[in-house]
Each structure stands twice: as structure tokens, then as C-alpha cells.
């Protein structure tokens, strides 16, 4: 839709008539709208951390250090609340208003890179080779983003619970098998002591669904899309393994092992004793440890046939293509990739540090530390969400399909429909070539 210049001019003229309104009130924002960051070496930076004090403080520290370290550029932070960050950023991208530096949820990086919103990170290969592969955003052979941390998915429970019901404590090398897992849940259910034997946090929305439940599908041997050419989901998302996963997933609900709809805050239900085992991210570690101390266990997810799997890739930093000072943005990115910053951000967010050197500095992640196993899970079990620009669409399709399956939709039919939609989207975008 292009409007002719005449139409635009008419509109402008009409507006000029209508808008000599009291504009004094409206001036404030006018000056801050130049987000490109051209003026006086100022680089604007967006982050999803508004309201998240720990992470925002850590990022602010890096920015302050950087601004002090040189005089050429000045980075200015603009924080957004995470819950609506993607909406804000997509809106800005669509209107070409992206800032120079921004953070992005990992799986969306290929989409953004393909659309031309992100610029590749040049000249950082040496530094980034020390990062966990799951925290790097790559597309088409180029690296577009890096993250300070990764997050691991775990089964949180208490040792006293497992001991009481005679359930084996699984390990990295010997996770629960599918049958063992099911038997354990049935035992917990039979005891009648818990409202939920297992809570997989179905009340979470957005990216949680593909992040948390597609690893289960992958543990069965299915996937979101064929990863050899990323063209079609046929066979991966609707093959026998995927259908098996779907039946098992629904079975958790019909057997009463998992609540169909979790409470507003599943971690609270676990701490209040309503839930025996909680499937969640490592971000729950702080609160659950506070409640149960050394009794808290963070177990690897079960091996559902193809080995345990967890989602890899969390928030990552990149630079935008429309940044007027790419060199400045790159300079910041290099500065900010130091191990000490990886350590400080990971420490303040209680997440897994992205480099080994940083891990050694963060309490809990040192050799033999209580969080060491999270790093181990991330290294051993993490699977990246499909690296294709079609991912945002795949994610919404998978979310809807998984929700429908959990609610009793016919597994094969639901998966076939998802494959049909995903393939149509891949095709209509020329397979993102």
C-alpha cells in the first residue's frame, strides 16, 4: 500500500489546519524519537529488563563501564517490560524504528536477520568461540547475536518426597526412563498427598510452550521441522514418533498426572506443597531453595526414547541494520563480551554463565558448586529451536497444536493440520531463500 504523494500532501495540509492544538504538552517525546543514534555518537540500546532489577542493574553496569572507558560513544539504555517486549520491538521494526543495540529472544534471531533488521557481528569470532553454542544466534553462516547466559529446564522436587515414595533419584548419566517416570508419577498420584503429581506450568503463555514442550517431542524422536533443509515439517511433526509424543502428552492429563490448566503461578503451588514435581526453568532455583534448602532437587528431564532434551538459547544481544553507526555498536558489543560481564549478568540473573571462564567466577557454578549441574544439562541436553526465519510462525502453530492436543484434539489430525500450515507458510515465503 503506497499512498501517492498528492494524497499525503492533502492529508498533511488538512492536518496542518487541524493541529495547531496545544502542542506544548506534546513536545517532550519529540526529541527522543531519533532512535537511530546518529547525533553526537549516542547509541540507543533496548532491553527487555524493565521491572527485572537484577538483570537491568547488571546491564546498566556494563553500559556505565563502557561509557567511562572511552569518550567517542555514549550508550543510552531504554528498558521494556519482558511480557510485551516482543510486541513493542516488532512494532518498532515494522516502522523502521529499531535502536542500534537491542536484545532479542534467541529463536527469533534468524527471522530478524533474514528480514534485514540485524547486522552480523563482524570480528568477534575469536571471543565468541568461547561461548556456549546455544547462546549464539546464527543464520546463514553468520553470527548475529550472543547471550550472557543460558537457562536449563529441570524437574524440581524434594529429596524427602522421592525417598518417601521410594522413587530413584535420577542423574545426568542415568535419567529416568519413560516407564520409570510414569510409574513414579502414578505412585505420587496414588498417595493422594498431592493435588498435582507433576505440574508442567501450562498456565505460562507465549514462547514457553515451544521452549518447554518441543524438547519433549524431540526426546520422543520428533521435531518441529525437518532440519536437513528446513523446508517442511512433514514427517518430523506428524510422523509416528510425534504422534506417540502427542498421545503421551495428552495421557498425562487423562491419567490425572498433570493438571490441564496450571495455577496462575506453578512455582508457588510447588512451594505450598500442592505439587510434587515441577517442570520449570532454572529461574525457580532461588525461590525453591529458599523454601526447602538442601532438600530441593533439580533433576534432568526424563529420557522419553531419544535421550533427555531441554530447550537451548535465551536472550541475546545484537545490533540493528539501520543503526547509523555500526562501528560504534560493534565496539560496544566487543567491550560487553568480556568474561567479567558474562559472569556479572549470569550471577545477577541466577542463570548459566555462557563461558567457562565466567562460570568459574560465579558462585554455584564453580567446580563442584551447587549449580554446576545446570551447566552440565545445558551442555549435554540443549537443543536449539529450529534455526529458520519461519520460526516465529512455527512457534505459534506448535503452541496452538500442543494446547489443542492437551485438551483432547485428535493427535494425528492436529499435527497434520500444523504441518499443513507450517509448510504453507514456508512455501509462501519462498522457503526463506
Amino acid at each position: 500500500m503506497k499512498l501517492t504523494s498528492t494524497t499525503t500532501r492533502v492529508a498533511v495540509g488538512l492536518l496542518a489546519v487541524a493541529l495547531p492544538l496545544s502542542m506544548a504538552a506534546c513536545t517532550k517525546g519529540g526529541s527522543s524519537s531519533s532512535s537511530g543514534g546518529a547525533g553526537g555518537g549516542e547509541l540507543t540500546m533496548w532491553t527487555h529488563n524493565a521491572g527485572n532489577k537484577g538483570e537491568l542493574a547488571a546491564i546498566t553496569q556494563i553500559v556505565n563501564d563502557y561509557n567511562k572507558s572511552q569518550s567517542k560513544y555514549k550508550v543510552k539504555i531504554q528498558a521494556f517490560p519482558q511480557d510485551s517486549y516482543n510486541q513493542s520491538v516488532v512494532a518498532a521494526a515494522a516502522s523502521k524504528k529499531l535502536p542500534c543495540i537491542l536484545d532479542i529472544d534467541g529463536p527469533n534471531v534468524p527471522n530478524w536477520a533474514w528480514a534485514g533488521y540485524l547486522a552480523p557481528l563482524e570480528g568477534l569470532d575469536g571471543t565468541l568461540s568461547k561461548f556456549l553454542p546455544s547462546v549464539l544466534g546464527k543464520y546463514d553462516g553468520k553470527t548475529y547475536s550472543y547471550g550472557y547466559y543460558d537457562v536449563a529446564l529441570v524437574m524440581v522436587t524434594r529429596k524427602t518426597i522421592l525417598d518417601k515414595y521410594g522413587i530413584r533419584v535420577p542423574t545426568v548419566d542415568q535419567p529416568w526412563t519413560k516407564d520409570e517416570f510414569t510409574a513414579a508419577l502414578k505412585k505420587l498420584k496414588a498417595s493422594g498427598d498431592f493435588q498435582n503429581p507433576l505440574d508442567i506450568a501450562t498456565s505460562f503463555t507465549g514462547e514457553w510452550w515451544p521452549y518447554a514442550y518441543s524438547p519433549m517431542l524431540q526426546s520422543f524422536g520428533g521435531d518441529l521441522i525437518n532440519r536437513n533443509d528446513y523446508k517442511s515439517a512433514e514427517g518430523a511433526l506428524n510422523g509416528p514418533k510425534a504422534v506417540e509424543w502427542a498421545k503421551w502428552f495428552r495421557g498425562l492429563v487423562t491419567d490425572g498426572l498433570v493438571p490441564l490448566k496450571s495455577g496462575a503461578d506453578p512455582a508457588k503451588d510447588f512451594i505450598n506443597g500442592k505439587t510434587a514435581i515441577l517442570y520449570n526453568g532454572t529461574w525457580t532455583a532461588v525461590d525453591t531453595r529458599k523454601a526447602f534448602g538442601k532438600d530441593t532437587l533439580f533433576l534432568p528431564p526424563p529420557d522419553l526414547g531419544n535421550g533427555p532434551k531441554i530447550g537451548g538459547g535465551s536472550w541475546q544481544w545484537g545490533i540493528s541494520q539501520n543503526c547509523s553507526d555500526q562501528a560504534g555498536a560493534l565496539d560496544y558489543m566487543k567491550f560487553a563480551a568480556q568474561d567479567k560481564y558474562v559472569a556479572s549478568v549470569a550471577r545477577d540473573t541466577n542463570n548459566i554463565p555462557a563461558t567457562d571462564a565466567a562460570a568459574a567466577e560465579v558462585k554455584g557454578y564453580e567446580q563442584g558448586g551447587e549449580n554446576q549441574l545446570f551447566l552440565e544439562y545445558a551442555k549435554k541436553f540443549a537443543v536449539l529451536r529450529p534455526v529458520t526465519p519461519g520460526y516465529p510462525f512455527i512457534a505459534t502453530e506448535f503452541t496452538k497444536t500442543a494446547q489443542d492436543i492437551l485438551n483432547g484434539a485428535d493427535p494425528k489430525q492436529a499435527l497434520d493440520q500444523a504441518v499443513k500450515n507450517i509448510d504453507a507458510n514456508q512455501k509462501s515465503n519462498g522457503y526463506f531463500q
Binding site: 498533511v12 521491572g51 510485551s84 513493542s88
Partner: protein, 316 residues
């Protein structure tokens, strides 16, 4: 409006008439049956619980730690300020969100929109209802037809389009409205529903007033300003309130159109508390403090508030 009306008395008088009409309605029957009356009171109190308790829950929870909110959920304690009561959630809220800034933004956005909305929409309605011109009926029809369009379906095109608009401000001509106050205000000034409400009200004011004024040499604009508007207090109040509520509750649009924290309104602040470890107590506290000003305003102006909304339905 069955008695003599002078422009000077205007709105107050009308409201008075409406109020005094009330008691006549049921006078006789109700008082004869004591039991029925008691029953009626009981029903009304039960309804109070239905409508009031969820908000009581919100306020009460704002003083409790998260875990207690959840453990109280299943019983009457959810509505009682018992257990570990403190202002901790509130101090948490002020630590997380630049509350004063958000509040000021919401006040600016809301007040400017309400004031300009009253002027712009009433003028349009006056032109349609009292002056009239060829094709006016069609214009009114088109305006009313746009009532059916929900804002959500237009958000994306409007976003794209706002980004192309020029603006004449103190910095001279600038292109693109995103990330400003005006993008949160100007698109919402003209409002089909407000025009409709003014139209109805103006239409019900006797036309003889215009004729009399014309005899005295008044122009249309003067009739609008000195006669019709002063008589339209209830309509002005109705439009003010119906503009105020949705503007105060703006959420989706500022998310999309505003990037600077210094320009965000209060409702967006709710998202600051939905972290991976959501702090429900703080959400309740924040929801309470952003709802409180509206409630206080409402209770203070309760009568004017309800009477004025009531007037919007007078003429269907």
C-alpha cells in the same frame, strides 16, 4: 425537561429534575410489605458481594506476601486482611516502576484527550444536529458506521500510517509520530460515540432557543458557545467520563507506538511485574494504586458521574 429552562440553570437543574423523579416510582407498594423489603435488602447486599468482592480481593492481596495470596486462595481469608500484612509490595512497586512519571503521563494523555475531545466532538455534533447542511445525514451515517470497528483491528495499519505523518512542533516539521505524546492523544480525540452522544443531546434541546438568539443577532458559533453548550452539562460529563475510562486504561496502543519509558502510561506498568518469577502481590499493589484514583474520583463525584452517564441513554 418538562419545566421552564433557562440557559443559566442548565445542567444542575436538569439533573435535579431527573433525581426528583425517582422516589415517585415505587413509593406505595414497597412500604407495605416488611418481609419483602427485608428480602430486597438482602438481595441488594448479596449483589454488593458479587460486584465488590473481586476488588476487595485485589486490595487485600496487595498487602500480603505472594505465598500467602496463593495459600489463602481457597477460603474466606482471601478477602480478609489477615496474616502477614505489610506495605512491602507497595515499596516494591515504587522501586520497580517510575510510578510518578507514568502517572503524570496518564494524566496528561487523559486530560488533554478529554478536553480536546469535548470541544471537537461537540462542534461536529452541533454542526450536524443544529445547523444542518445538505448531506449531513450521510455524514452522520458514516460516523455511526465506524462505531463497529474495534481499535485492535486497526492498530497495525494505524501504526504504519502514524509513522509517516508529519508533525509541526517546537522542533519544526518532524516526520513520524511514534514515541511521542501526540501519538497517544490525537488519534483518540475525534470519537464517533462522543459525536453521537452530543448529537442526541443537542437534538433534544428545543430549537426555539436558536431562533430567539438569532433574533437577538447571535451567530451560530455564539449559539453553540453561549446557549447550547452551557445547557449540555450532562452530555459533556458523559463524554468526559466515557473518554476518560478507555484513555486511562490504554494498553495495547502505547505498547506498540511508544518506546521511551518517560512517555509510557500507567497500564503498561503492569507488565513490569510479570517476570519469570511473577510477583503477584506487587501486581495487586500496582493494580490497586492505578485503580484507586479512578475509584476515588468516582466515589467523590458519584452522583454527577451516574447521572451524567444516565443521560446518555435518555434518548435511544
Amino acid at each position: 425537561m418538562s419545566t421552564a429552562t433557562t440557559p443559566g440553570l442548565g445542567a444542575d437543574h436538569l439533573a435535579h429534575v431527573a433525581e426528583s423523579a425517582t422516589p415517585a416510582v415505587h413509593r406505595g407498594g414497597e412500604e407495605r410489605h416488611g418481609i419483602r423489603r427485608a428480602l430486597g435488602v438482602l438481595v441488594r447486599i448479596a449483589l454488593c458481594l458479587v460486584f465488590g468482592l473481586p476488588l476487595v480481593f485485589m486490595f487485600v492481596s496487595s498487602f500480603k506476601p505472594d505465598l500467602q495470596i496463593f495459600s489463602d486462595l481457597g477460603n474466606i481469608k482471601a478477602f480478609l486482611p489477615v496474616g502477614d500484612i505489610s506495605f512491602e509490595n507497595y515499596s516494591g512497586v515504587f522501586g520497580r516502576v517510575p510510578f510518578a512519571q507514568f502517572m503524570m503521563n496518564s494524566v496528561i494523555i487523559t486530560v488533554v484527550t478529554v478536553v480536546l475531545g469535548i470541544v471537537v466532538n461537540s462542534m461536529a455534533a452541533f454542526a450536524l444536529a443544529r445547523i444542518g447542511f445538505k448531506g449531513g445525514g450521510i455524514v452522520l451515517g458514516v460516523i455511526l458506521a465506524t462505531l463497529i470497528v474495534p481499535f485492535e483491528t486497526l492498530a497495525l495499519p494505524l501504526l504504519w500510517w502514524s509513522n509517516k505523518l508529519p508533525f509541526l512542533g517546537p522542533d519544526g516539521f518532524t516526520e513520524g509520530w511514534l514515541d511521542t505524546y501526540q501519538v497517544q492523544i490525537i488519534p483518540f480525540i475525534a470519537n464517533a460515540f462522543s459525536i453521537f452522544l452530543f448529537y442526541q443531546y443537542f437534538d433534544s434541546i428545543p430549537k426555539e432557543l436558536d431562533e430567539a438568539a438569532k433574533v437577538d443577532g447571535a451567530g451560530w458559533f455564539r449559539i453553540y458557545r453561549s446557549i447550547v453548550m452551557p445547557l449540555s452539562g450532562p452530555a459533556v460529563a458523559t463524554v468526559a467520563i466515557l473518554t476518560f475510562l478507555p484513555m486511562w486504561n490504554q494498553y495495547l496502543w502505547p505498547l506498540m507506538a511508544v518506546q521511551s519509558e518517560e512517555l509510557r502510561p500507567v497500564m503498561v506498568g503492569i507488565d513490569y511485574f510479570k517476570q519469570l518469577n511473577t510477583s503477584w502481590g506487587q501486581i495487586m499493589a500496582y493494580a490497586s494504586i492505578i485503580t484507586a484514583p479512578v475509584l476515588v474520583l468516582f466515589v467523590a463525584f458519584q452522583r454527577a458521574f451516574i447521572n451524567s452517564i444516565a443521560s446518555s441513554g435518555v434518548k435511544g
